[in-house]
Structure formats: structure tokens, C-alpha cells
Amino acid sequence: MNEARNDILIDVRDVWKSFADLDVLTGVSMQVRSGSSDVILGRSGIGKSVLLKSIVGLLRPERGSIEVMGEQVIGLKTKELNRLRKSIGYVFQYAALYDSLTVRENLEFPLRKHTDAGEEEITERVFEQLRLVGLEHAVDKMPSELSGGMKKRIGLARAIIKRPQIVLYDEPTAGLDPITAREISELILSLEEQFGITSITVTHDLECARIIANQIYILDGGTFQHSGTFDELKMSEDPYTRAFFQVVV
């Protein structure tokens, strides 16, 4: 029992978050085990990204508790929060690459800020990441010169360059064509298996969920209405879940 408790890397309990008069999260709870790849599914604007941003401390919920690797995120001082963030990678919906820096500088940025790595090691790590995402040729390009899919890959490479234990993906396949979206999903799966990453992915792309998810949570009305594996939810009798899964069944 205790061992199972220690196995939980992200523990979200009864989290409430609202903006002005709008209640977005109304008592969300989830536990993510080490090495697991959990997916949050839900319609646009339902609060999926709000939960992800609350986990990494970008937003502060009004109520509830969020423990990441045993540390209570809500109310954590900036210094401690930053220490915790060094173990977390975050892939943004539109990649959020620093547009005044080249691809190389974007990837170097976390290493220069938080490691003592020398020039040679930094260059080696940058090219290693670019090889993993298949974009070695883009090393000296500016973000504005990249396509949407390339930006997502570089965003992914930047998120995992420090080898974080946890990676949070915010709509990793949004705005991509089905073929590129599938490639990105398979890349995420392969990187997670290779580096033993624990992850939460927010998406409304069922194909992405099918490829990468160990556990899926359905967010609706501010809470998780249902959870289970892809196959379990596909067979669900619940009308909302059925409506969601009808697209792929």
C-alpha cells in the first residue's frame, strides 16, 4: 500500500480554479504513477490546460492540493518552485519557442541556465536532441522559418533536453495534419519509453490518446467524469464518453 503511494509522482486532490465568475475546475483529482503516460481528454475551453498550468505552478488554484514528487506546489516559494520545475518539462500548445533565438540557442537555453555543462557537451546534447526529433538540418534556423510540425518537434526536444522525470504536454498535436500529428504522437511515445518519462498530455485528439495513453481522464463540467484505458472508455455506456469516442469507433 505504502509502496503504491510512493509510486505516485503527481497527486492532484480536489482542485478548484475559477476566473472571475467562471468556475473552470470544481474538485478535480488524479494520481499519476511513475512511468505512466496519462491523457486528459475534453472539449476545447473546458479547463484542461488550466489544470496542466496549475500542476507546474503557472496558475494558483483557490482550493485543493497538488503534490509533485512529494512537494506541495500550491503555496510553494518561487525558489523551491523553480527547483522543482527543473525536473519538469513542458511542451506548449504552439511550442512557445523563443523567437529571438535560433533553434540551437532555444535548445541550449535550459542547459546554459541550469547546468555546468561545457561548450562541447552542450553542442553534443543539442545535436543528440535534434537527431531524436529528426531535425538536425534545422539547427541554425529561426523559429519563424519552421513549419508547425517542426516547431512542435523542437518544443519537444527543448522540453526533454534536461532529461526531466515529468513532461507535461499541452495539445501536442493541435493544428497539425493527421499524418504529422501521428508522427508527433509516436515520437512522444518513443521518447517516453526511451527515457522513462512520466507524463500528462492534454488533448482532444483521440488518435494521439490511443497511441500514448496508459490512462485517460475525461474532463467535463469542471471534474473528471470518467477514467480508464482507451479500450475501456471506447466501450463505455456513458453518453458523453460515447459521443467523444464515436469519432474513432
Binding site: 520545475r85 527543473k86 506548449f92 512557445a96 523563443y98 523567437d99 535550459p110 541556465k113 541550469h114
Partner: protein, 270 residues
């Protein structure tokens, strides 16, 4: 049946109250944002690389425009003042008058307004664009403090570069005045600059250059504040850039008035 409904009536009083409240909120926001700079600037990590980069971008790229403005400002001032001074038989005071006007007032204020127009809008747009594309969030989740990395570096660069640019513009404007004198009366350069140097005292130069540090701080803080608070996509970025210029220019003029009063109070009006 007419389905169009009249918009709800908002009284003039309620509208004015809401506008005053919004303006006060902004004043409070900018003040606390600006004061935060002093809390961060002395605390590591120091981003000297970023400060150097901004010094280059803000400073050297403003030089061509400031060069033209500086020379023309001196030229026009001399051309306009010469007939009036001659009417009172005071044409010989022209170099001294030019030097005092430029060093004490016109040089610092014109330089600050031009830099505000070029730089403050640039900072507002750049930081605003980073805000709406989640780059500021990306910095934060990378355990890098966005205020230290984006704001402190820019405010510091503006405060360092503006006095240097002002000294440069002052010199060019005085030189522009000489060009006008040389064209109209073929006067000697040595005589002109002797007059200029003799007319300027330490207490004329110090407040003139010194207040530009405060102007630089205003340009950096207001540009960054508007960028940090940009919302609603590209429209918000455009609005951030525009309001950065307007607010920075207004604040420069207001602060200049306050500094003049204080200077006269403590250093005398002469």
C-alpha cells in the same frame, strides 16, 4: 416587431468613475512594477549578456535617427534665435544661449522622446508578443524568472544608454548651431566653442544628463509593463506598443517638470 434592442444605458457618471478607476489601477500597476525593479536589480542571477544585447539594440540602432535630429535641432534653434537676439543687440550671446538651452532642457527631453518612440514601443511589442505566444510562461517553467530576464535587463540598458545618447545629441546640436552660425556669419569655430564651454557650469550639465537616467528607467518600465500586460492576441500587442509610447512620453514630460522644479529649489535658478 422590431427585434433590435437598445443598448443598456450607462450614465456619464458611471462611465467617468469606471475610467478613473481603470486609470488609477494602471498607475498603481506601473508603480508597483517599477518598484519591483529595485528589488531584483541587486540580486543574482545577473543577466549581463542580455544587458549587453539590449544596449546594442537600443543604443547603436538609435544613433542614425538621433544624429540627424541632433544636428537639425541645433541648426533650427540657431536660425530661429539669431534674428530675435540681434533685435535686442544680444547676438553675441547666441552660443551660450544655445548651449544652455540644449544641455539643460532640449537635448535630454528630445532624446528621451525620440528613444521613447523607438524603443518603448519596441519593448512593448516584443514583450507583448512573448506574452501572447506563451514564451513568458515558457521562461517561467524553465525556472528562469521572466521579470529578471526580460524587464530588469531592458530597464537597466535603457537607464545606461540614455545619458550616453543625450551627451551625443547635445554635442551634435551644439555643433548644428555652429553650422548655422558659420553659414550666416562665417564665425570662428574656436570662438564659438570657447563661448559654449565658458557658459556651461557643472550644475547645468549634471541635472541635464542625470535626469536622463530617470527617463531611461521610465521608458524601460512602461514598455515592459505594457508588454507584460498585453492580452487578446495581436490586437493586444499593437495596443501595448502604442500605449507604451504615449504613456512613456507623457511621463517623461511630467517628470521633467518635477525635476526642473527640484533642481531650481536645490541648485538655484541661475
Amino acid at each position: 416587431m422590431n427585434t433590435l434592442q437598445k443598448p443598456p444605458h450607462i450614465s456619464y457618471y458611471a462611465l467617468t468613475r469606471s475610467r478613473i478607476r481603470s486609470a488609477m489601477d494602471q498607475v498603481y500597476g506601473i508603480t508597483t512594477f517599477g518598484l519591483r525593479f529595485f528589488r531584483y536589480v541587486f540580486v543574482p542571477p545577473y543577466e549581463w549578456g542580455q544587458v549587453r544585447k539590449h544596449l546594442d539594440e537600443l543604443g547603436s540602432k538609435s544613433l542614425p535617427l538621433l544624429t540627424i535630429v541632433g544636428v537639425i535641432m541645433g541648426l533650427i534653434l540657431a536660425l530661429q534665435s539669431r534674428p530675435t537676439l540681434d533685435r535686442f543687440g544680444a547676438g553675441g550671446f547666441l552660443p551660450a544661449m544655445l548651449a544652455l538651452t540644449i544641455v539643460r532642457e532640449l537635448g535630454p527631453v528630445i532624446t528621451a522622446l525620440i528613444v521613447a518612440g523607438r524603443v518603448s514601443s519596441g519593448i512593448g511589442a516584443e514583450v507583448g508578443s512573448m506574452k501572447v505566444t506563451e514564451q513568458i510562461d515558457a521562461l517561467e517553467v524553465s525556472a528562469v524568472d521572466p521579470f529578471n530576464y526580460l524587464v530588469v535587463t531592458r530597464v537597466l540598458a535603457c537607464s545606461i544608454i540614455l545619458p550616453l545618447l543625450t551627451a551625443y545629441v547635445d554635442f551634435l546640436a551644439i555643433f548644428g548651431g555652429y553650422i548655422s552660425e558659420w553659414i550666416s556669419s562665417n564665425s570662428s569655430m574656436q570662438l564659438y566653442f570657447n563661448e559654449v564651454v565658458q557658459s556651461l557650469r557643472f550644475y547645468d550639465v549634471l541635472p541635464g544628463i542625470g535626469k536622463t537616467i530617470a527617463f531611461g528607467y521610465i521608458i524601460g518600465v512602461i514598455g515592459s509593463y505594457q508588454g507584460f500586460n498585453a492580452a487578446r492576441g495581436t490586437e493586444g500587442v499593437g495596443r501595448a506598443a502604442t500605449s507604451a509610447v504615449v504613456l512613456a512620453s507623457l511621463n517623461i514630460i511630467f517628470l521633467d517638470m518635477v525635476i526642473i522644479q527640484l533642481t531650481q529649489l536645490f541648485l538655484g535658478a541661475a
